[in-house]
């Protein structure tokens, strides 16, 4: 192993030699190296977060036929730095009657819950933080911490809008957690492991990307991830036309900035998990074998594409009503995800030991059949709904005529 073939692990090994050379115990040296690694990764995530603010503003501007930030630096790329300076220099207002401790903890927890997800992201074959064997459960648990931060913000602000926003957010987040967990179960069944690293490894070297094996699970994961993020069309928690800004209405300055940074990084991280679970992670047809950093770049590009899709949905689809949102989840997404799970489990066992391409083809066809049946049921239902509504519409029209 030389510096050029694997810089990160080379530096880690070099530091380990230096520390043990100073007479430190190997356990302490290891802990210091892990701490340094965590610092580097968190700093990288925060730098990326600053860059994401620029991307988000530029992309929303293009969707709305505007230019976006273009004054500070080339293409306005230094705009987020100006924003950060402004946020830091703003006065920090705590509303009267707020629960001070909880009020201050909420933005911290909001960003921490997102940063915690970065601990398990495998950036490349040799660049990964913790290879947990329960990584998918960890993903769900860290997401639940994000929910908690929103309840804390809404409850402690002493504001009715904030409280309403928090209620709505909790309703949507806990509901959409069910299809998300079921969608996470499907890569687990195919791989036989909850480790994100093993899921990535199973999608290369004679395996196929899981979005071919489980296209419906990919879509279910994407929808529930958007709901979990609280982004449009599920952004009832901060519906600015009804409840002003929802749970972060009373937050000013850097505390608001932390919520905003947490939301953007969360969206990017879910793009990353979409890439890892269904689109091969850092793998791209053998290109990742050239160099670990190439693998990391492939992963970041895939995560950015996932993030772009989430933005695309956000700026295209209007907000939906809360009863529609909960109905969509409990009457459509949850039953569908459970059916897909049953089909995947039975076929996975029936096809055990068969060729990879046979396995992928049968799984794909099974998904197509389930998807088609679902659409047929929905069509029949909407036809019956229209039939039931038509006489009402006619009688209303006649009444108006008379």
């Amino acid at each position: 192993m030389t510096f050029w073939s694997d810089p990160i692990n080379f530096v880690a090994q070099w530091l380990r030699d230096v520390f043990t050379g100073w007479g430190w115990s190997s356990g302490l040296a290891n802990a210091i190296i892990l701490l340094l690694g965590a610092l580097v990764l968190v700093s990288f995530a925060m730098l990326l977060d600053i860059f994401l603010v620029w991307i988000e503003r530029k992309v929303v501007a293009r969707f709305q036929d505007r230019l976006g930030p273009n004054r500070v630096g080339p293409f306005g790329i230094f705009q987020p730095f100006a924003d950060i300076v402004k946020l830091i220099l703003k006065e920090d207002i705590t509303p009267v009657g707020a629960d001070k401790l909880v009020y201050n903890l909420a933005p911290i927890l909001s960003l921490t819950s997102v940063l915690l997800l970065w601990a398990i992201l495998p950036l490349a074959a040799t660049i990964y933080g913790a290879d947990l064997n329960v990584a998918l459960l960890y993903l769900v648990a860290a997401g639940a911490l994000g929910t908690l931060s929103i309840i804390m913000a809404g409850w402690s602000s002493n504001n009715k809008y904030a409280l309403l926003g928090a209620f709505r957010m909790v309703a949507s987040m806990v509901s959409y957690e069910i299809p998300m967990v079921v969608a996470l179960l499907i890569p687990t069944i195919i791989t036989g492991s909850m480790s994100v690293r093993e899921i990535t490894l199973a999608q290369g070297d004679g395996g196929v990307w899981f979005f071919i094996v489980a296209p419906l699970a990919t879509v279910i994961f994407l929808i529930s991830a958007i709901a979990e993020l609280g982004r449009s069309p599920f952004d009832l928690n901060e519906a600015e036309s009804e409840i002003v800004a929802g749970f972060h209405i009373e937050y000013t300055g850097m505390k608001f900035g932390l919520f905003y940074a947490g939301e953007l990084l969360h969206a990017f991280t879910f793009g990353g998990f979409l890439a890892i679970l269904f689109f091969g992670g850092y793998r791209f047809f053998g290109l990742e074998n050239l160099h670990p950093l190439v693998g990391a770049i492939i992963f970041l590009v895939k995560a950015l594409i996932g993030y772009w899709v989430i933005m695309w949905v956000k700026y295209t689809v209007p907000r939906i009503r809360i009863d529609h949102m909960l109905g969509f989840n409990w009457k459509f997404l949850t039953p569908l995800s459970l059916v897909v799970l049953m089909v995947t489990a039975v076929l996975n066992q029936a096809l055990a030991g068969s060729e990879t391409w046979v396995y992928a083809l049968v799984m794909f066809l099974a998904n197509v059949v389930v998807g088609w049946l679902t659409l047929e049921i929905l069509r029949a239902y909407s036809r019956s709904q229209r039939k039931a509504e038509e006489p009402v519409v006619e009688s209303v029209a006649q009444a108006a005529h008379h």
């Binding site: 220099l89 207002i93 002493n158 069944i189 850097m254 489990a345 055990a352």
Partner: protein, 123 residues
């Protein structure tokens, strides 16, 4: 495995340190000129009426209950999903999957019951 969880713990410390540092720096650099109007609760220019911790709609509670049942049962599904690949191929392997399917069908029966009872309507 120990080192992995040590890394998670250290990551948690760093992850808490960064936002705390941002808030502390902001508190040190920002102005502090509080007054009663500025610190009052935001309400579109009106005076706030009544208590701010209001009662909430009952359906939120019902949806939380349904979620709780499903969440506990999906936790049972994870060990099953992992053991699935390690089971014997052939008829026995399919039988393991069918056992899981029966469990999921019971789950779905609970969902249909809640649906028929009208618990999924927003009233």
């Amino acid at each position: 495995m120990q080192s992995e969880w040590l890394y998670i713990g250290l990551f948690l410390l760093v992850g808490i340190f960064i936002p705390v540092a941002a808030i502390v720096i902001s508190a040190l650099l920002g102005p502090k000129k509080p007054n009663p109007i500025k610190q009052s609760t935001y309400e579109c220019g009106m005076e706030t009426v009544g208590v701010n911790w209001v009662q909430f709609k009952a359906p939120y509670y019902i949806f939380a209950l349904i979620f709780l049942i499903f969440d506990v049962e999906t936790v049972f599904l994870f060990p099953w999903a992992i053991a699935l690949n390690q089971s014997q191929p052939g008829v026995l392997g399919v039988f393991v999957a069918v056992e899981g399917v029966i469990f999921i069908l019971i789950l779905l029966a609970g969902l249909v019951y809640a649906w028929r009872k009208g618990a999924l309507e927003w009233m």
